[in-house]
Symmetry: none
Subunit: 230 residues, 4 copies
DNA sequence: CATGAATGAGAGTTCATTCAT
DNA sequence: GATGAATGAACTCTCATTCAT
């Protein structure tokens, strides 16, 4: 009996592991060789199963891609939630969130691409009423609202303001990811990105630009490169 | 001899015409049925030539796509240049350019996608040292610099500031084009976009937000919807 | 001991029930969606077992199909035997059997197809020396012989005559079932079938064509149950 | 110029030849190994082309099957028309047509199957308003009508009578082709078929049964070419 | 210069079946 | 006896591209 239960659990664990492995492999092919290279056969080869076997884990190819999106979204959302918890001060959180978003995109460009750029999973995202991004956007808007309430940001439509900020960060990283920055030498990317972010944020919050917030002991999850104003 | 020359000219003209027709057709398929539907055969069918024939006009499929990019870029650049000429005042030009960019994207989403989002032509863009966007970016930076010089914008790295603005407009329209705005009801798109643009621009130029510049007799190419903040 | 026996019996009963259920489901899929749709997986899904489980009830897919044939044959044979009992008069029985056969085919076209048209079960039918149809044919021949003896039919080889009649009824219904009657408008099917049957039967039994048996005021759709003269 | 024309003609001839070869091969596989074995790959292998190449000759697999049907129908129709011409006497023609039909079926069972039994081409036959069989049926009805007019057949609905005869011949050969004659030993097939045919025809035409036409010392396998009047 | 024909590679998917547990 | 998992072998079809004519 106990054995039975255990073996069921084991099976489930193994299934889950293989599922994850399939996604890992798919992600790795996607990263290394691009979307076109992600084929059922190719994945099957790499996980050392027959193509047909994958169909008991995912209904079709699209489902695999979509699972990749979900995975990435969870990662990003977790990041946002951790900032939400760690940083009660809305202005500080706003800056930190922006930086974290951009850093995530630059460190995981393929995941970012999947979530916010690629057309492949659009259909499924629409069907499934996919809403991890809802959540993220709502968090952002809440932060923006608090900032407005506390006078850190000019009072205005929070939707518009939140969308403006999201647009900026998305725009900057997606131009980079999709290599539309020929005008800027690659080694300057980081600096320009940083500079643009700071410029914009400071512009929106003129009275606060000299605040130490800006050179924050940025929550360590993020700290990759010091940003420092001044 | 003369006849020879003429017939050569005619031939060249005809070649050019077919080239254009191929691109028209490709663009039309792309617009109506999406990237996957753009196949050599499909194009050949519609121009009533054989697939092989296309290969004397374009080296391969990617070249066709790239030619589409070039075309679209010329269109967009012409728009920028016309603004450059029409609006000597840098601040006014800055606003107008931003609005024009966004409007272009929303009215020609497929062209925009090709130029700034799609991965297909990336390779060729890199190889050919594609620089229509360079030009556009340089124009923008020049405008930004002038704005700074004249005190409309806080002095800062012009590269960063220009990039910030571009990032914002690109981000907002590309989220829309690639349907990542589930958080916002579709009928509010225009308003939110507009609101975000105004919010950001005003935020960056606090002392000037009440200027009439903002509701400018926008060059008519653009005037689609009045924007006006008063 | 007794308990053991009972539980064995129960088990067997349950097995038999599942067997039947499998066949029900297979038949229902076959009827509703055609032969191609009848897959082991599909059946397994509908009986809520795993595909593998079916293999302890049937050796392979063909066996399932064959079992369907057997089932249908039993039904049809029972019909024949009931006529055999109910109608002692051979001529009456001959007409009634013919009509019953055709009616069966038209009311159960899928069963008919399985038994007499489809290639799928041929192999197994041959192997298993399938002989429900033997029985049916023998009954028919016996009836024909009696008719000849009693002067209702011209004396001739009974095998040939019986086969002639069977051929006719099979031909007419199978042309219909396999949709080879483009030459005849669908709404006339019933009439033409009926007319052809009467024509042929009357032709073979010229001296008896005026018998009431022949024009049995048969409800146009081929009277469902009793046919009876008398 | 002339050369040009010739080479075009040659090309067309070759195309036509390959088309025919594809059909030959398909037919041969169908004959030797059954419908399931007829796959694009298999055909391609045997004609020594790549699978893809076949798609410039036929739109899809169904078209190949359908072309097989068309081919067979032309053959059968030609046979009917030749009888139409050769035999002005309607009664003689009726017998001859019946025998020819059955002989065709027995000598070309796979073609017959395609035309009159198989489900595969049904869809296309319906779509294309396939009417070779119309023609055949009309010919038969005309013959029947003439026979009635001239008193060889009892006056009755010609549609019904024609359908009755067609049903009989179709029934007899299709029972054979689809191997539903377990009740009859294989070596007796020819005799029983012949006997049934004669029985039925004689039964329908009682006054003519002693005519030599009827028992034409037909070579047992159903004499191939001439049928012989007198 | 264009055609017609064909290649070759591979796409996603589906099946009946098997077998350890 | 049934499950869950996987196999292996197909399947049809589509594509960009090449090349003799």
């Amino acid at each position: 009996m106990a054995k039975n239960l255990k073996s069921i659990q084991r099976r489930e664990r193994e299934r889950e592991e293989l599922r994850e492995q399939i996604l890992d492999v798919a992600m790795s092919i996607l990263t290394k060789e691009g979307y076109e290279a992600v084929t059922i056969r190719r994945i099957a080869d790499e996980v050392e199963y027959t193509p047909g076997a994958l169909y008991s884990y995912f209904g079709d190819k699209e489902e695999i891609i979509f699972a990749l999106v979900v995975r990435a979204s969870k990662k990003l959302n977790a990041l946002f939630l951790s900032l939400e918890e760690a940083l009660p001060h809305p202005l500080e959180r706003l800056w930190a969130t922006g930086r974290a978003y951009m850093r995530f995109a630059m460190e995981h460009p393929v995941e970012y691409d999947l979530m916010f750029i690629m057309s492949a999973p659009i259909q499924k995202m629409a069907e499934c009423d996919f809403n991890e991004t809802h959540t993220a956007f709502r968090l952002l808007r809440k932060t923006v609202e608090e900032c407005m309430k506390q006078g850190f940001l000019p009072r205005a439509d929070a939707d518009a303001a939140a969308f403006a900020m999201w647009s900026f960060v998305h725009g900057s990283v997606s131009l980079m990811i999709r290599k539309r920055l020929a005008a800027i030498p690659e080694e300057k990317y980081d600096d320009v990105l940083q500079g643009a972010f700071n410029f914009l944020m400071n512009a929106m919050m003129p009275r606060h630009q000299e605040q130490p917030i800006i050179t924050p002991s940025a929550p360590k999850v993020l700290a990759k490169k010091k940003i420092g104003k001044k």
